[in-house]
Structures are given as structure tokens and as C-alpha cells.
């Protein structure tokens, strides 16, 4: 059996990213929005790994390493914000925290 073409990986990645993006935009629950963001990041990771393999360079995987680190840090801080937010406003609905407005 031959190897799967790189482009297939990239297509999968695109689809996953789109799903994640749609989730970010559409869902009301803040936690779920966060999870959708993680989904986007993972789709990107897949892209990097696939291209690293196809170009024969480990650098792509190094980048994935960094992405993961940053994503972890971001998740920690983001969830802390959500906790603080819920403590004040008693809601996790995105519609009700729309104060950064005109």
C-alpha cells in the first residue's frame, strides 16, 4: 500500500479547523467555546506535523511542541478568567457578558 498523500492530511486539517471556527462563533457556553479553540489549535498541529513529514524536517514538530505549550498556558489563564467572570456575573452565557460595546 502506498502512503497517504500529504494533501489528504491537509484537507482533514482544514475541515477540523472549520469545525472549530464555527464552534467558536456559534456556541453560547464559554467553556465549549474554549474547547472549540483547542480544536482549531489541534488542526493546525496536524498541518505542521504532516508538512514536517512531507518536507523531511523536524522543525515542524518543534513548532508543534511550542504550540502545545502555549495552548496549555492559554487554557490555564483563560479558564481562570472564566472562573473570575462566573464568580461576578453568575453566568457562562456569552450573550450576557457583552459589555465591551459602544
Amino acid at each position: 500500500m502506498g502512503a497517504t498523500p500529504t494533501s489528504w492530511y491537509l484537507v482533514l486539517s482544514a475541515i477540523l479547523f472549520a469545525i472549530g471556527a464555527a464552534g467558536v462563533l456559534v456556541r453560547r457556553n464559554l467553556i465549549v467555546i474554549f474547547m472549540a479553540i483547542e480544536l482549531c489549535l489541534n488542526a493546525v498541529n496536524l498541518t505542521f506535523v504532516a508538512l514536517a513529514r512531507s518536507l523531511g524536517s523536524v522543525d515542524g514538530q518543534v513548532i508543534v511542541f511550542f504550540v502545545m505549550t502555549v495552548a496549555a498556558a492559554e487554557a490555564a489563564v483563560g479558564l481562570a478568567i472564566i472562573i473570575a467572570l462566573v464568580r461576578t456575573r453568575e453566568t457562562t452565557n456569552a450573550d450576557e457578558v457583552a459589555t465591551l460595546r459602544w
Binding site: A21, L25, L100, R101
Partner: protein, 627 residues
């Protein structure tokens, strides 16, 4: 023929130093001002006399020249700042410094109690400086500097008592009307530069006359155009129709100012300028015709108005306008030497009359209405005697000065190089009226019963010697001035015009007119004083028209000033706030309104913002994917 010297500049520097002194130190040193003010004039006069004697010793047509420095070098145009004393400017300089000195002495007495004593002398000195620059300039641009300078000083001095708004308005009027004349003058200068490339008077006379004679501008020879444009400037400065309207209002200034500026010197600047540029006018006879007619019309018109005036200074003001008309008429018929002669004699007797009027006003405690005067000859003997001489001189009674100078002009109207006999008749009519209204002034003021209040009568006193001495000097000059060989001197510069002297019949006629006018005035104002009132009633409307100075000011107001103010109002209160401010504010308003529409994109909902991100990223990817 032209000798270069380096001391002519002192004629101008002395009064200039005086100005600086009065500006910076004068306020604290009133005693010094009394000496410095007239003193610098005396010094300038002395230098002028020295120059005069030097020129007199030279052959005919000789001149002294003092080149100060090269002022402008702009491409082909070169303007030298230089002073020139020839017979013509010598005459003018002596008049300016000499009469100026007498009036400065008079002012020491007249303005003694005025809080602006030093300021007055500063302005006066500045005026003399500018007038001397005008008269001594060898270059038309330098002449214009002096021209503008005297206009400025006229404004400053007319509005000297600016706390009273009327005076400030009069000063403003003088300045603005003069500005109109100056615009014409400048246009004339522009034409000169365009066609000859220079403003040096001597250069134009000796090198470029042919160009002026032959080149055409708008269908007329350039010389005619230039002559008329420069004449516009002269109508402003020398108060001819239509720009004379400032001079009667200028009587708002202190009387010494009226005497110096509006009788003896500044107003003659136009006449001097046209004499200086006689060579331009000689190749532009059409322009000379205009000049002559305007002069004659002014002479007659102002005389008519003067007949009905009741303010003693206004009578003298219209008299000045009328006499200036004579001078301009003289230029127009080609006898410029006679015109300058009249400038000199007029300086003597009009200066005398104004200073005498000042003395009367001083004695009357500020009253200027002749209807409230009368019988003053007993209280003011010196003033009366000198003013009597002045009146006889201006009326043209021989052998006083006025007779000779007026007569030369009238003779020129009949037989001069550009004679217009009809204007000679106009001149005679004006002469009759002049004698009449001057006699009227004299009789109303000094004869009959005193119509002033008891209060005023109690305070009547003759003026101090600082005021009466100049009167006496001027009276002497008015008597003997007619024998000065002025016309001959001017002819050395302007050129001889071979003409026979006037026939004796003319001289007799002139004398008869003068005496007749005075006699009529005597009858109407001393013998039967009720008659003028009856005449006024009979001629009702016409009298009112004359009394209202033909309502020329009102006409100007309606036709020129009114529309200008309306336009200014429109621009200031409608156009500026509406269009200009509107554009600026409108821009702000549009920005604010647009942004208030756009700001609704800031919903506060983070996901909406994320959507914008996505759309942006989409566009970017699409763009990158195209290639």
C-alpha cells in the same frame, strides 16, 4: 550740472531724530519737547537754506544730489534711494521746513495743556520727515514712501484726540479715501515700470520719453494712461473731485495740524508730483485736459459749498479744496510754475488763516461756530490784523501774494500752452466766491456785535506770543510773498514757456472781482445782516443742498460705503459662519455621524468580533490562494 554731496540727508535726519526723541523721551521731558520739536525743524531749515544757496550759485538747471544707498535690485529694476535738490524741490523744501517751523512754534502754545503734548510733536516731526522724503526723492518709489508716510501721519494727527470717536472716524476716512488715490498712483507706477523699466525720475525724463509718447495701452498713448493714473493719486492727496471728501472732515484734528498738513504742505504733494513729472504730462495733452477740468470744477464747487458753511474751520477747509483746484487747473493748462507759485503763496496765507482761526477758537474756549462769534476785533487785535491780511491775500487783492499767483493761473487758462478759456471764466467765478466767503468769514467773526455767551465773552483774550509771533511772520510773508521769483525758479526745472505777461485789463478785472466779493460780503454781513437769512429762505432747497455740501458724502455712503458694509456683513455673519465654519464643523459632523453608524459593530459580543476575524482571514486566504 549735478553735484553729488552727502549732507542733504540731514534735512531729513533732523526731523527723524526729533521723532525718535519725542517717542522715547518726550513723555517725560515736556520742557525739552518745547525746544526739540521746533528746534529740529529749524536745523532742517538751515540745511535747506544752505542747499538753496548752493543751488542758486550753480548755473541754471543745476542740482545737488545725495545718493544714500541702492535700495532695490530686482532683475532689471534698480531703485536708488537718493535725494535731489533742484530749484523746484528747493522751493518745496524751504516751504515745508520754514512754515513747518513756524507752526511747530505755534503748537508749543496751542497744545500747551494737552496731555498728548509729546505725542503731538512726535507725529508732527514724523510728518515733516515723510514730507521731506516726498519732496526730495529722486526716485518715484522713494517719493511714494514719503507719499504713504504723510498719509499715515495725516491719519494719526486727524484722529489725535481719538477718545472722541468722531475724530477717529475722520482720520479713518482720510486714510481710506487716500488709499483709493494711492491705488491709482501705484497702477501708474506699475505702468511706468512696465514701459520704461525704471522709476528714476531723471532717467524717465531723459531716456524714455519717446517710449511713453509712442507706445499704446488700451487705445491710448501710455503717457496719457500713466498721467491719468498718477492724477488719481493726486486727487486723493490734493483733495480734488471726487476724492476731496476727507479734507473737510479732517478739521477734526487740532488746528495746527489743519494749518500744516491740510493747507500748506501735504495737500500740495499732488501738485508737486505732477510738476515733477511735467515731462510725462507734456506728451499727454489729453490727460492735461482732464486735469484742468477737474481742477476748475473743484475750485468752483468747493467755493460754492464754502459760502454756506458756519464752522470757521470748515470754511477754511473748503477754501483749501478750492485753492487746490486752482493749482491743479494751473497744471492742467500748462503753467506749472504758476501752480507752484500758488502753492507757496497759499502756504503763507492759508497757514496764516488757519493759525488765526486757531487763535480765535483758543480765545473762544473751543467754539468754532461763527454764528456765535462777532465783534472780536476789539478783543483779539493781533489775530484780527493778521487775519485781515490773510483774507485780503486769499481774495486776491493786489499787491498781496494771492493776487499774483492766482492771476498767473487765470492768465494761463486763457493763454497758456494748453489753454482752456472757458475754464478761465470758471476760475473768475470761483475767485469772486472766494473773496465773498472769506470776507463773510472775517466779518462774521470779527465785526458786529458779539453773539457769544457772557461766559465766553468774559474769557476772551489774545493768544500768547508763541502763537501770535508765527501769525505776524506769516502775515508779512503774505504781504510781500508775491514778489518772490518762484515761477522763474520753477521754470529752470520745468522749462520756459515764452508768453507775454497778462494784459493790464486782466489785472484790473481780477482786482475788481476781489474787491467786489469783499464788498458784497461787507454789505451782507455788516451793514444789513438780516439779508443772508432772507436769501437762504428764498432759495430754500438750493441753500439746503449747498449747506449739506451737495450731499456728496451721503452719495458715497449709499453707493460705495453702504454696499461694502453690506458685503462685509454678509461675509462676516453669513458666509463665514455658514460656509467656512460649516465646512469645518460639517466635516466633524459627518465624521461623527458616520462613526455613530459604524460603532454599532461594537456589539460587545466577543464572538461577533471573532467572526470578523474569520471573515478577514477568509479574504486573506482567498487572496493568497488565487496565486
Amino acid at each position: 550740472m549735478v553735484t553729488d554731496v552727502s549732507w542733504l540727508r540731514w534735512i531729513v535726519i533732523f526731523p527723524a531724530l526729533g521723532t525718535l526723541f519725542h517717542v522715547f523721551v518726550g513723555g517725560r521731558a515736556k520742557g525739552a519737547v518745547k525746544l526739540v520739536g521746533p528746534g529740529v525743524l529749524l536745523a532742517a531749515f538751515a540745511v535747506a537754506v544752505a542747499a538753496a544757496m548752493r543751488v542758486h550759485g550753480m548755473e541754471e538747471g543745476g542740482a545737488l544730489r545725495d545718493a544714500l544707498y541702492t535700495w532695490i535690485v530686482a532683475g532689471p529694476l534698480r531703485v536708488e534711494a537718493a535725494f535731489r535738490v533742484d530749484a523746484l524741490s528747493m522751493v518745496m523744501t524751504l516751504i515745508v521746513t520754514g512754515i513747518g517751523f513756524l507752526i511747530h512754534v505755534y503748537s508749543v502754545g496751542y497744545m500747551h495743556d494737552d496731555p498728548g503734548f509729546a505725542r503731538f510733536f512726535a507725529y508732527l516731526n514724523l510728518f515733516i520727515t515723510a514730507m521731506l522724503i516726498l519732496v526730495l526723492a529722486d526716485n518715484l518709489l522713494l517719493l511714494f514712501v514719503g507719499w504713504e508716510g504723510v498719509g499715515l501721519c495725516s491719519y494719526l494727527l486727524i484722529g489725535f484726540w481719538y477718545q472722541d470717536e468722531k475724530n477717529a472716524i475722520a482720520g479713518k476716512k482720510a486714510f481710506l479715501v487716500n488709499r483709493v488715490g494711492d491705488a491709482g498712483f501705484l497702477l501708474g507706477l506699475f505702468c511706468l515700470v512696465a514701459y520704461t523699466g525704471t522709476l528714476e525720475i531723471q532717467a524717465i525724463e531723459h531716456q524714455h520719453l519717446d517710449t511713453l509718447r509712442t507706445a499704446m495701452l488700451g487705445g491710448w498713448p501710455v503717457a496719457v494712461v500713466i498721467g491719468l493714473l498718477l492724477f488719481v493719486g493726486a486727487t486723493g492727496k490734493s483733495a480734488q473731485i471726487p476724492l476731496y471728501v476727507w479734507l473737510p472732515d479732517a478739521m477734526a484734528g487740532p488746528t495746527p495740524v489743519s494749518a500744516l498738513i491740510h493747507a500748506a504742505t501735504m495737500v500740495t504733494a499732488g501738485v508737486y508730483m505732477m510738476t515733477r513729472l511735467h515731462f510725462v504730462y507734456e506728451v499727454a495733452p489729453a490727460a492735461l485736459a482732464v486735469v484742468a477740468w477737474v481742477g476748475a470744477a473743484t475750485a468752483l464747487g468747493a467755493a460754492i459749498i464754502g459760502v454756506a458753511q458756519t464752522d470757521i474751520k470748515k470754511v477754511l477747509a473748503y477754501s483749501t479744496v478750492s485753492q487746490l483746484g486752482y493749482m491743479v487747473l494751473g497744471i492742467g493748462v500748462g503753467v506749472a510754475p504758476a501752480a507752484i507759485f500758488h502753492v507757496v503763496t497759499h502756504a503763507f496765507f492759508k497757514g496764516l488763516l488757519f493759525l488765526g482761526a486757531g487763535s480765535v477758537i483758543h480765545a473762544m474756549g473751543g467754539e468754532q461756530d461763527m454764528r456765535k462769534m462777532g465783534g472780536l476785533h476789539a478783543h483779539l487785535p493781533t489775530t484780527f490784523a493778521t487775519m485781515l491780511i490773510g483774507t485780503l491775500a486769499i481774495a486776491g487783492v493786489p499787491p498781496l501774494a494771492g493776487f499774483f499767483s492766482k492771476d498767473e493761473i487765470v492768465w494761463g487758462a486763457f493763454a497758456g500752452p494748453h489753454a482752456q478759456p472757458i475754464l478761465g471764466i470758471v476760475a473768475y467765478a470761483a475767485a469772486f466766491l472766494t473773496a465773498f466767503y472769506m470776507g463773510r468769514m472775517l466779518f462774521m467773526t470779527f465785526f458786529g456785535t458779539c453773539r457769544a455767551s457772557h461766559e465766553v465773552q468774559h474769557h476772551l483774550h489774545e493768544s500768547p506770543s508763541s502763537m501770535t509771533t508765527p501769525l505776524i511772520v506769516l502775515a508779512i510773508l503774505s504781504v510781500f510773498g508775491g514778489f518772490l521769483p518762484i515761477p522763474h525758479l520753477v521754470e529752470t526745472v520745468v522749462g520756459h514757456h515764452a508768453e507775454e505777461g497778462a494784459p493790464y485789463s486782466m489785472l484790473l478785472l481780477a482786482t475788481g472781482i476781489a474787491v467786489g466779493g469783499l464788498v458784497l460780503a461787507w454789505v451782507l454781513y455788516v451793514r444789513q445782516p438780516e439779508l443772508p437769512g432772507l436769501f437762504a429762505e428764498d432759495f430754500g432747497q438750493f441753500y439746503q443742498l449747498v449747506f449739506d455740501k451737495f450731499r456728496v458724502d451721503e452719495l458715497y455712503d449709499a453707493v460705495i460705503v453702504g454696499p461694502l458694509f453690506a458685503l462685509a456683513d454678509f461675509i462676516a455673519f453669513r458666509f463665514d459662519p455658514g460656509v467656512v465654519d460649516g465646512a469645518v464643523n460639517g466635516t466633524g459632523f459627518v465624521v461623527a455621524e458616520t462613526s455613530s453608524i459604524w460603532r454599532r459593530a461594537q456589539t460587545g459580543n466577543v464572538q461577533h468580533y471573532a467572526l470578523s476575524f474569520l471573515l478577514g482571514a477568509l479574504a486573506l486566504v482567498w487572496y493568497l490562494a488565487r496565486s
